[in-house]
């Protein structure tokens, strides 16, 4: 286990510096006028120009710029947005509702994927199974830019079943529709992966042994098969966190939820370079750390991986 953790940590450090450098270089490298690039198409006043140059050390070489940027980032100093607000405070205000929304989406998606996926795998080729496959195909074809506004219009406005928007301290119920919409971005792949891996494991020797021992079918499926089938699902959840972040960018904007996603979307609209870079960098770090956690979880679930 120790060797596995060390190897994964080393890999993550490499990916971490690579990914943050890409984001950083996109924003700052090879610009005719990096200050203007940060401020978008707005005119830049002399004092703002000076502040941005000093903040991002734009008068120095690229690598030393990156060094300052990373050390600021890692000490939690995100600087100020173009409109003069602390990016750290903006982030602090907006993350709780985003975390709640994403967690709800993740739990909904995983519960659906597990329930329907296992059932589908047991009844392979049945009406239910084919229905589920057609349904996941439909979900895969509905991009979130279609689903979020249309769901808001149908369920939030026409039918009035759910509130059409949600505030910072939104209740569970107010966040339910956005969470369902967000869940659709990940549930289809999760369901298909669960179905395939359960179906494969059902044919494994250890299942035959368990059945031959006379174990109850329920115990064979929910204890023996499921533990092995969870492995690909858990890995997928790590990747899905990135999909959820992308989805939150659209969902929060549509449902007017003042979370990280809509703040970032606002930063994009107002062409606030420092805010976009700050938010994206923090999200990339969160994504990488969560993926490391998922990988460790995955090793706990499957001893074969630890001894690789």
């Amino acid at each position: 286990m120790f060797r596995y953790i060390v190897r994964r940590l080393l890999q993550m450090i490499l990916t971490f510096f690579g990914a943050t450098f890409v984001v950083f270089a996109l924003m700052f490298a090879n610009q005719d006028d990096p200050v203007q690039a940060l401020a978008g198409e707005k005119p830049v006043s002399a004092s703002l120009r000076e502040a941005l140059t000093e903040r991002y050390h734009l008068d120095e070489g690229l690598l030393s710029q990156y060094w300052y940027y990373m050390s600021n980032l890692l000490t939690g100093d995100l600087g100020e947005s173009i409109s003069g607000r602390e990016i750290g405070t903006l982030l602090e205000d907006s993350w709780p509702v985003t975390v709640r929304l994403s967690l709800m989406a993740l739990v909904i998606a995983a519960a659906l994927a597990l329930g329907a996926g296992v059932w589908s795998a047991i009844r392979r080729g049945s009406v239910f199974d084919n229905g589920i496959l057609a349904f996941t195909l439909l979900l895969l074809a509905l991009p979130i830019v279609v689903l979020a506004p249309v769901a808001q219009w149908i369920f939030g406005m026409e039918l009035g079943w759910f509130p059409a928007t949600a505030s910072r301290n939104a209740s569970f119920y107010a966040l339910l529709l956005p969470a369902l919409v967000l869940a659709t971005t990940v549930v289809a792949t999760q369901l298909r992966v669960t179905r395939t891996s359960v179906a494969e494991n059902l044919r494994a020797d250890y299942v035959r042994t368990a059945r031959a021992k006379g174990l109850a079918p329920r115990r064979v499926i929910w204890v023996h098969v499921l533990r092995n089938s969870l492995i690909p699902l858990v890995t997928l959840i790590g990747v899905d966190l990135g999909v959820l972040m992308s989805g939150a960018l659209v969902t929060e904007g549509v449902f007017n939820i003042p979370g990280v996603g809509s703040k970032l979307a606002q930063g994009i609209r107002t062409e606030d370079g420092p805010m976009v870079v700050g938010f994206v960098s923090v999200l990339v770090i969160v994504f990488l750390v969560m993926n490391l956690v998922v990988d460790l979880l995955y090793a706990a679930l499957d001893p074969r991986i630890r001894y690789e």
Binding site: V22, L26, L138, P143, V146, V254, V280
Partner: protein, 296 residues
Amino acid sequence: MSDPTLPATIDTRPRSLSGDAWDDLRHSKIFWVSSGLALLILLMAFFPTLFTSANPADCTLSRQYAGPSGGALFGFDYQGCDVFARTIHGAGNSLWVGLLATLLAGVIGLFFGMAAGYFGGAVDAILSRGIDIVLGIPFLLGAVVFSGRLSGAGDDGVTAVTLTLGLLTWTSAARVMRSSVVAAKGQDYVAAARMLGASPARLMFRHILPNAFAPFIVVMALLLGANIAAEATLSFLGVGLKGDAISWGVQIAEAQKHARVAPAPLIWPSTFLAATVLAFIMLGDAVRDAFDPKLR
């Protein structure tokens, strides 16, 4: 004595994987439905005037939210533009950006994947870490920074979005290519060709590539659907197509604000976008089923 369970004549011609797959596909309803839909959308994209003679840029505020009439099947939107004409003309940009981006991703993925799979060792290690780094950035977050950086003031954003999508989505193609090249490399026919003195380039392109191509094509079809959706998402967020460019994403973003009053301008581009993505995903699915011998 003849075996009664065998057909009278047996086709003894050698059958290739692609021949088998085509046989499968010919009998698949999903394949015909999805390719029919895809063709219709391609027709719409390249010859929009076959479907509508109205000018999509002709907007008059006095027609705001006017109902369907004459050529304007879907009525008019907030700005008084013909929703039908804009939806039809929107197909062009979406498909064009999607196709070019997928092609770019395919070329990058093909070369990186083949190089990593064929050479192995250090080349593989470097390229695989490169893939990890690209995958370490959540897609839309990277795209937002990328696209904002690439688009200049005053252009319509087509080049910026195409480059953004191409440069961020080649990883799946590269991974698939790499693993099929690794599998094909160890085959006897490759060893035979090598012993006959084939150069690495000939080995790769003449012997390995044709046999590693099927899974790659499937990934391309799925990626095309995903990239069309991604273009709409970026345009929706305001970092995709802009200015006078007509795009389903821009239409949806605009109509979403007024959905309570006028749902039609939201519903139609959404339907067309979903149908387009569905067509390519179904096509990819059908082709994969046909090419996957394990499912037979």
